[in-house]
C-alpha cells in the first residue's frame, strides 16, 4: 500500500474513487494549459509542472470545488492564459460575438443572391445535372 501511495504522491495524479469526479477532473485537465509547454493541455504534457497542475486539479475536485471555482483558482494563480476557454469580459466580447456577426453577414449574402430574378434559361434534367 505504501508503494502505491508513494507512486500517487510522486508521479501520476490519484485516480479519484468517484467516477463522476474522475470524469470531471479529466475534462478539466483537457482545458487547462500547461504553462511551460508550447500549446498543450496538462492532460497531455509530460512536463513536471503539468503533473503538479494535474495533482492540483484532483485535489480541488476531491475537496468538492465546482468546475467554475477550479477555473477561477487556476486563473488567479497563473493568469487568463492558463484556460483554453477564453474568459467572458470586455476583451472577448468581439470574439464571442464574431460567430453571430458572421452568421448575420452570411444570411444577408444568401438572401441577396436569392432575390435575383430566376433566369428562364434552359432547364437541366437531373441526369445532366449529375454528370
Amino acid at each position: 500500500m505504501s508503494i502505491i501511495a508513494a507512486f500517487l504522491a510522486a508521479i501520476a495524479p490519484a485516480v479519484l474513487a468517484d467516477p463522476a469526479q474522475e470524469a470531471r477532473a479529466q475534462s478539466l485537465e483537457r482545458e487547462i494549459r500547461c504553462v511551460q509547454c508550447e500549446n498543450e493541455p496538462i492532460a497531455q504534457s509530460t512536463a513536471d509542472i503539468a503533473a503538479d497542475m494535474r495533482r492540483l486539479v484532483r485535489e480541488r475536485v476531491a475537496a468538492g470545488d465546482s468546475d467554475e471555482e477550479i477555473r477561477t483558482y487556476f486563473r488567479q494563480r497563473y493568469g487568463d492564459f492558463v484556460l483554453f476557454r477564453p474568459p467572458w469580459d470586455a476583451r472577448t466580447w468581439a470574439l464571442w460575438g464574431a460567430p453571430f456577426l458572421l452568421l448575420g453577414m452570411g444570411l444577408i449574402g444568401v438572401l441577396t443572391i436569392r432575390r435575383r430574378p430566376t433566369g428562364e434559361s434552359e432547364i437541366l434534367t437531373p441526369e445532366e445535372g449529375d454528370r
Binding site: F7, G79, G129
Partner: protein
C-alpha cells in the same frame, strides 16, 4: 559547390518567373507571347527542381557547411529522415513551396484545352508572379543554401518527434494542398482582369480546387493520425493554431469545390467563386507562412525574427490587396447570375458554402484573436478547444443536417417533398440512433446529436446511391456498375464525412482513460480487458536508446501481445513515446509507458486509454479523399470524352 549550383538555379528561376509574369500578363491577343510564357513556366519548374535536388543532396551528404543542414540534420540519422529533413525545416520547406508552385504553373501552362487565350495566358502570368514572390522571400530571407563558417563537426539533429514515416509525407501533402490553391487564385485574378468568368473558366478551375482539397484532406488526416500515435495521449485534433492553419484553407477549398460546380453548371455564383478562390489562397498563405515563422503560437515568436515576419505580412498584403482590390473594382462588371428557387440544388449548395465559409471565418477569428488581444495590450489569453467546440461544432451539425437533401434535389427548382420521402429511412435511422444514444448515456445531448448526424449522413449517402441505381435499367449489380463516376465520388465523400463524424464523436464523447503503476507481472482490469505488464527492457535503435515494455492483453477474444516504448534520442534532451496500440473492431486500446515510479520498487507508470471507434475518423477521411480522387478521374474522363 552543390549549394552554389542550387542557389544559382534558384536565382535563375526567379528571373524566369518574373519574365513569365510580365509576358503572360501582356499576352492577351498574341499567341506567340502566350506560348513563350508557357515555355518559360516549364523552364522555371525545371530550374527549381534542380535547386531542390541540390538541397536533398546536401542533406544526404550531411554537408554541415550549409547552415540549414547543420541546424536540422545529423550524421547518425537514417537516410529517409535525412531526405525528409530537407523539407522538415523552414528554409527547405519554403523551397518546396516554390517548387510546387512552379510545377503546378508548368502543368497548367501545358494544357490550354478550350480555354480563352487571354484568360489562360494571364493565369500563367499571375502564377509566375506568385512563384516569384515566394522565391524572393526564400532567397533573401530564408536561403536554404546559406553557408556556415566555421562549419560544425556535427549537426544538431532533427526534432525526434518528427523522425517518423508520417513526417516524410505530411508536410509535402499539405504543401501540395496550400500551393494547389494558388492556381484558383491565379485563375480568379486573370478572370477579374479579363472581366469574364464563364462556364469554361469554372471548368478549368474545378480540377485544381479538387486537387488542393484532396491533398489538404490527406495531409491533415496524416498529421492527425501522426499526432494520435506519436504524442502519447491519443489526441487527434486539438484546435491548435497550427492545425487551424490547415483547417481554414480546407474549409474554403471544400466550399470552392461545391461553388465551382454551380458556376460550371448554371453560370451562377461566379463572383462568389472568384472571391472564395482569392480567400482560399490568402488562408493558404497565412497557413504556410505564419506557421513557419511561428507568429501564430505567440506574438513573442514574431519578435525573434521581425524581418521574416514583416516580409510575410507584405507578401500576404500584396497578394490579398491585389486580389480584393481587383475584386472590388471589376467584380460588379461580371455578368449577373440568374437566380434559383429556395428549394433547388443551387440553393443547397449556397447553404453549404454559407456553412463552410462562416466556419472558416470563426476558426480564423479564434486563431488570431489572442494575437489581437495581446497587441492591444489586453494581456495573454488562450482560445482553445472549448471555444471552437462551442461555435464550429453547431455550425457543422446544421450543415450536415442539410447535406443529404442537396444531392436529392434537381437544379433550378427541386421537389422537397419527394426528397423527404426518399430520405425517410435515413431520417428514421438517425432518430433511432439519437434516442438509443440519449437513453444509454443518461441524456448526454451533445454526443447523441453528433452520432445521429453521422448516421444521417451515411444513410443519406446510401439513399442517394440507391435512388441513382433505381433510375438505371437491368439487374441491380449491372446498374451499380454503370453509375457515373461523379455519383460514386459524391456519395463516397459524403458518406466519408458521416463516418468521420461518428468516429470523432465516439472518441471524444466515450473515451476512457486510466493511470496505473504496474510492476512486471502485475495486471490491471481496463475497458473489459485485463492488461498485464510482462517485462521492461532496454533496446538500442539507430540513433536512440529505448525502454521497451511488453504487455499481454487478455480479453474475451483471447490473449494478445503489445509493446510500448520510451525513446531517448542522442540529440534531444527529453524522451519521446512510442505508444502501443491494439486495434479491434470496437476501437483502440492505447498504452503509453511513463517513467519508473520513484520509490516504487520496480513499478512503472502506465497510462491506458480506450478510444472507441477511433479508426472511423481516419477511414472517414480516407473515404472523403477517395471521393475527391474519383471526382478528379471523372473530370479527366469527361475532358477526354468531349474534346
Amino acid at each position: 559547390m552543390i549549394a552554389e549550383v542550387g542557389a544559382f538555379a534558384a536565382v535563375l528561376a526567379l528571373m524566369l518567373s518574373l519574365a513569365q509574369g510580365v509576358i503572360g500578363l501582356a499576352a492577351s491577343r498574341r499567341d506567340s507571347r502566350a506560348d513563350a510564357a508557357a515555355a518559360i513556366a516549364q523552364s522555371t519548374a525545371v530550374l527549381i527542381l534542380i535547386a531542390f535536388a541540390c538541397l536533398i543532396t546536401l542533406f544526404v551528404r550531411s554537408d554541415f557547411t550549409v547552415a540549414a543542414v547543420a541546424a536540422n540534420s545529423h550524421v547518425d540519422k537514417p537516410l529517409i529522415y535525412k531526405i525528409a529533413g530537407a523539407w522538415g525545416n523552414h528554409e527547405g520547406s519554403m523551397l518546396l513551396w516554390c517548387l510546387v508552385s512552379a510545377l503546378f504553373g508548368a502543368i497548367y501552362a501545358s494544357a490550354r484545352g478550350k480555354q480563352n487565350l487571354g484568360l489562360w495566358s494571364r493565369t500563367v502570368g499571375v502564377q509566375g508572379l506568385v512563384t516569384a514572390g515566394v522565391l524572393i522571400y526564400t532567397l533573401f530571407l530564408s536561403n536554404p543554401f546559406a553557408r556556415l563558417d566555421p562549419a560544425p563537426m556535427q549537426g544538431s539533429g532533427l526534432n525526434p518527434l518528427l523522425q517518423d514515416p508520417a513526417l516524410a509525407a505530411h508536410p509535402p501533402m499539405l504543401y501540395l494542398g496550400y500551393v494547389g490553391m494558388s492556381i484558383p487564385f491565379s485563375l480568379a485574378v486573370a478572370a477579374l482582369i479579363e472581366g469574364k468568368a464563364d462556364q469554361a473558366w469554372a471548368r478549368a478551375l474545378r480540377p485544381w480546387t479538387l486537387l488542393a482539397w484532396l491533398c489538404l484532406t490527406i495531409g491533415i488526416a496524416i498529421g492527425s493520425y501522426w499526432a494520435y500515435y506519436e504524442l502519447g495521449w491519443g489526441g487527434w485534433w486539438f484546435w491548435d493554431p497550427v492545425e487551424n492553419a490547415s483547417f481554414m484553407p480546407w474549409l474554403v477549398a471544400a466550399a470552392l469545390v461545391h461553388s465551382a460546380i454551380v458556376t460550371e453548371r448554371r453560370g451562377s455564383l461566379a463572383s462568389w467563386t472568384i472571391l472564395l478562390s482569392i480567400m482560399g489562397f490568402g488562408l493558404a498563405l497565412l497557413g504556410t507562412f505564419l506557421v513557419r515563422s511561428g507568429v501564430l503560437t505567440s506574438v513573442h515568436a514574431f519578435a525573434v525574427d521581425p524581418q521574416r515576419g514583416i516580409a510575410v505580412l507584405v507578401l500576404l498584403g500584396v497578394a490579398m490587396g491585389v486580389g480584393f482590390g481587383l475584386y472590388a473594382w471589376r467584380a460588379p462588371r461580371l455578368a449577373q447570375p440568374s437566380g434559383f428557387a429556395a428549394i433547388s440544388r443551387e440553393s443547397m449548395l449556397v447553404w453549404n458554402n454559407f456553412g463552410l465559409a462562416v466556419a472558416a471565418g470563426v476558426v480564423l477569428i479564434g486563431t488570431i484573436y489572442p494575437l489581437i488581444v495581446e497587441a492591444a495590450g489586453g494581456g495573454l489569453i488562450s482560445v482553445g478547444p472549448p471555444f471552437f467546440n462551442a461555435t464550429v461544432a453547431p455550425l457543422l451539425v446544421a450543415l450536415f443536417l442539410l447535406l443529404p437533401l442537396g444531392p436529392m434535389l434537381t437544379w433550378r427548382v427541386g421537389d422537397a417533398r419527394a426528397a423527404f420521402i426518399r430520405l425517410a429511412p435515413a431520417a428514421a435511422l438517425a432518430l433511432l440512433t439519437l434516442i438509443v444514444a440519449l437513453v444509454s448515456t443518461g441524456w448526454r445531448a451533445a454526443p447523441a446529436i453528433g452520432l445521429a448526424v453521422g448516421v444521417w449522413l451515411v444513410g443519406g449517402g446510401l439513399v442517394y446511391l440507391w435512388a441513382r441505381v433505381q433510375r438505371g435499367e437491368g439487374a441491380a449489380m449491372a446498374k451499380l456498375a454503370v453509375l457515373p463516376l461523379a455519383v460514386w465520388s459524391m456519395s463516397l465523400a459524403h458518406i466519408g464525412a458521416g463516418v468521420l463524424t461518428i468516429g470523432a464523436i465516439a472518441e471524444t464523447g466515450f473515451r476512457t482513460e486510466q493511470a496505473a503503476a504496474l510492476e512486471p507481472g502485475e495486471g490491471v482490469a481496463f475497458a473489459g480487458r485485463r492488461v498485464t505488464l510482462l517485462e521492461v527492457g532496454e533496446r538500442d535503435g539507430p540513433n536512440y536508446t529505448a525502454t521497451r515494455a511488453n504487455f499481454r492483453v487478455d480479453s474475451a477474444g483471447g490473449a494478445q501481445a503489445v509493446s510500448a516504448e520510451r525513446r531517448m534520442y542522442h540529440t534531444a534532451p527529453s524522451p519521446t513515446t512510442e505508444v502501443g496500440i491494439l486495434s479491434s473492431f470496437d476501437g483502440d486500446l492505447y498504452i503509453a509507458l511513463g517513467e519508473p515510479v520513484r520509490n516504487g520498487g520496480g513499478a512503472w507508470a502506465v497510462r491506458l486509454y480506450h478510444n472507441p471507434l477511433v479508426h472511423l475518423i481516419f477511414i472517414g477521411a480516407l473515404m472523403m479523399a477517395l471521393g475527391g480522387l474519383l471526382s478528379l478521374a471523372a473530370l479527366a474522363r469527361r475532358k477526354k470524352a468531349a474534346p
